[in-house]
């Protein structure tokens, strides 16, 4: 089978960051920030806007931004990942159902509650009849979507694919996750990202889109060399699996210039990365992003976009550094995200010289 190369040719993002250069947000008392929304009316007609929930609007705008950035109007596929789906509408319908004892309910919130609403609304807006899919698997929802698109482009089934990672963090869901220990209960400090000594992370939300293509052109940010999603319950051999992954791509860890990891200030989470990337010799430069995006099930989308920009611009914004170990040209970035150490996503991104 002829294998095609896969490139990132466009990106779009709605996040807790203001437009322009990255800034460290003030995490406040609650360690909980919500998106800074764009003027939706510039992108979506008022008649449609009225019915859409926040996450759908954001998902559509980040998708449109990525398409525009990549110079494509009609993608071959729309594939989304979302950990929680349209949780605001789900909560509204659920609350009404409970409060009204299953009576006199309105359909609007139910209609918008399914996880595939974002993918579907993008398709309806673009009149895109092509491949359409949605993944919802905890902290690797976006990576699953990315992998689906990557695989099909590689196999020649698609020439491009629009990938979206969308999640919203409603106050109610934030509260629920607080109860199960997701969030830090002490004020966030930058030191937490360097050496975490407490549990919990900071809560954010966002929609991030990437346009993948088999064509390298003036829009290209980086090449996705390979993706591996590893489920390894009860196993402790991630080191070996990482080595296999790099070996399959003709590389060793010492040839990786930078690792963009899912470090989030939660000590158990971060220990996994520290073991892999700080204890050896000739360690890669360590890059981080969750202090800038907040943590949510698809926050890796934000990190992937930053990685793509680093490779394109050959410039690392200071706030992304955790530790600078190498100063050479950045050829390969290993993107590594794990969810509770049970599922790992390894994504190898490489520079494209035109």
């Amino acid at each position: 089978m002829k294998q095609h190369n896969v490139y990132i040719n466009g990106v779009g993002s709605i996040s807790i960051q203001e437009e322009g250069a990255l800034a460290l947000p003030d995490w406040g008392e609650e360690n909980y920030l919500r998106c800074i929304d764009p003027p939706f009316a510039q992108y979506i007609s008022p008649a449609l806007l009225r019915r859409m929930s926040k996450v759908v609007k954001r998902g559509i705008v980040s998708a449109l931004l990525a398409l525009k950035d990549g110079g494509i109007e009609m993608p071959d596929a729309i594939i989304s990942g979302t950990g929680l789906g349209c949780i605001e509408d789900t909560e509204k319908f659920l609350s009404a159902m409970i409060e009204q004892n299953e009576q006199f309910l309105q359909p609007t919130h139910f209609i918008q509650s399914t996880h595939n609403t974002v993918s579907s609304q993008i398709a309806i807006m673009l009149k895109c009849y092509n491949y359409n899919n949605t993944f919802s698997h905890l902290g690797i929802s976006l990576e699953s979507a990315l992998f689906d698109g990557f695989l099909q482009i590689k196999m020649g089934m698609l020439s491009n694919a629009l990938i979206n990672g969308c999640d919203e963090m409603t106050p109610d869901y934030h509260l629920m996750l607080k109860k199960v220990g997701f969030w830090k209960d002490t004020p966030f400090q930058m030191e937490d990202m360097y050496q975490a000594i407490t549990s919990g992370t900071v809560a954010g939300e966002g929609c991030n889109s990437l346009l993948l293509s088999n064509e390298k052109n003036e829009h290209t940010y980086a090449e996705i060399k390979d993706i591996q999603l590893i489920h390894h319950r009860n196993n402790n051999n991630i080191e070996e699996l990482l080595e296999d992954f790099l070996d399959k791509n003709g590389l060793t860890l010492s040839e990786i210039d930078a690792v963009m990891s899912g470090i989030n200030g939660e000590m158990k989470n971060d220990a996994v990365y520290d073991k892999l990337y700080t204890e050896g010799e000739n360690n890669p430069t360590q890059l981080i992003y969750r202090h800038l995006s907040g943590d949510f099930f698809t926050s890796s989308g934000f990190g992937l976009i930053q990685s793509a920009k680093v490779l394109k611009n050959q410039n690392i914004e200071p706030l992304l550094f955790r530790k600078e170990n190498k100063k050479n040209k950045i050829r390969h970035i290993l993107f590594h995200n794990h969810y509770k150490n049970s599922t790992h996503a390894l994504i190898l991104l490489s520079v494209c010289s035109n």
């Binding site: 979302t82 996880h115 579907s120 698997h137 629920m176």
Partner: protein, 398 residues
Amino acid sequence: MNQRIAITGLGIISAIGNNQSDTLRSLLESQSGIGEMQFLDSIHHEFPVGEVKLSDAELKKLCQIDDESIIGRTTLLGILAVREALKEAQIEQVEKHKIGLISGTTVGGMEKSEQFYLDFLQNDLHNEYINIHDCGACTEGIVEHTGNFCFCTTISTACSSAANALIMGANMLKAGYLDIVVVGGAECLSKFHLNGFNTLMILDKTPCKPFDQNRSGITLGEGAGYLVLETEEHAAKRNVKPICFVSGYGNACDAYHQTASSPDGKGALLAMQKALKMSGLKPQEIDYINAHGTGTQNNDLSEGIAVQQLFTPVPPISSTKSLTGHTTSAAGGVEIILSILAMKNQFLPQNLNYQDKIEELNFEPIKSNMLNHPIQHFLKNSFGFGGNNSSIIISNNI
């Protein structure tokens, strides 16, 4: 040819049986599993449902899981079906293989969240259920009780979730990322779904009547259906005889409306065309269509129009939702397996509760089981909210 995708194991649980053999018996006898709700704690008893005839406690017992375990009904259904599929495929130790699980679900642990939601927000009585609310947690729960899969993800495209899981799984095998993959879906009944569909006024107060002129909506069901896929070459290496093969599949988007199908069935037609193209088969080579056939005015007309455009004449067609109810995210898995059981036993399963032809359509569904009717290739349609339409073509191994 040896890169063909073989199906080597099936696992199913639905209103018409807790395993393959019970299911086949019900299917042969056209015994519907639809009736008054026994287990779902809803006020809406006016709607019949297709429940699995076991309580959560009985399901746990059957799974050999401690009654105190924090586990949702969707996960329990999934565990039983995945185990049955693995057993038939002769996979005893999952960790010995490069094997993945791709599961479809939509409501996830909702049937527990809807009981405890106010507690989640107001007190700490049921916090242990918060972690099992979402879709991914359901799949992880299945993995925890079925084996150490090296890849695992969840697809959530409403009622076509399981079919899309099959498509992703087949692609991963073709690209060599996995040797074996278990694909399908699981979904239990929930008040959330029942009330949601009720607000859309698409639930039938009598058992659903797909493709009938006077059809008046869906009967919700629940269940799980999983298939073990591997390349023909890999199955041969393991000395396992394929039950049948995945010949083609197509995924398209109707791009019309979040909950309604387009009047011309565009997305449905595209999905079927893509599947046919991949299979290399001509429309007249399809011996049977297992329709999405929900029983709503909108779906059956839209799907029927699309089928008519592609097939002249329309091959024997039925919606087995008239037996099981609509198992939503599991439907793709459950109904492909029902069709495979029919194929292996050489009969065409009937479309229950049918009386009058839909005026706008030129075909009628199968009115009674047609025995001694070999099937070489069948097409399965699976459509979901959001216009997520997928079609799968399965070919017999004889």
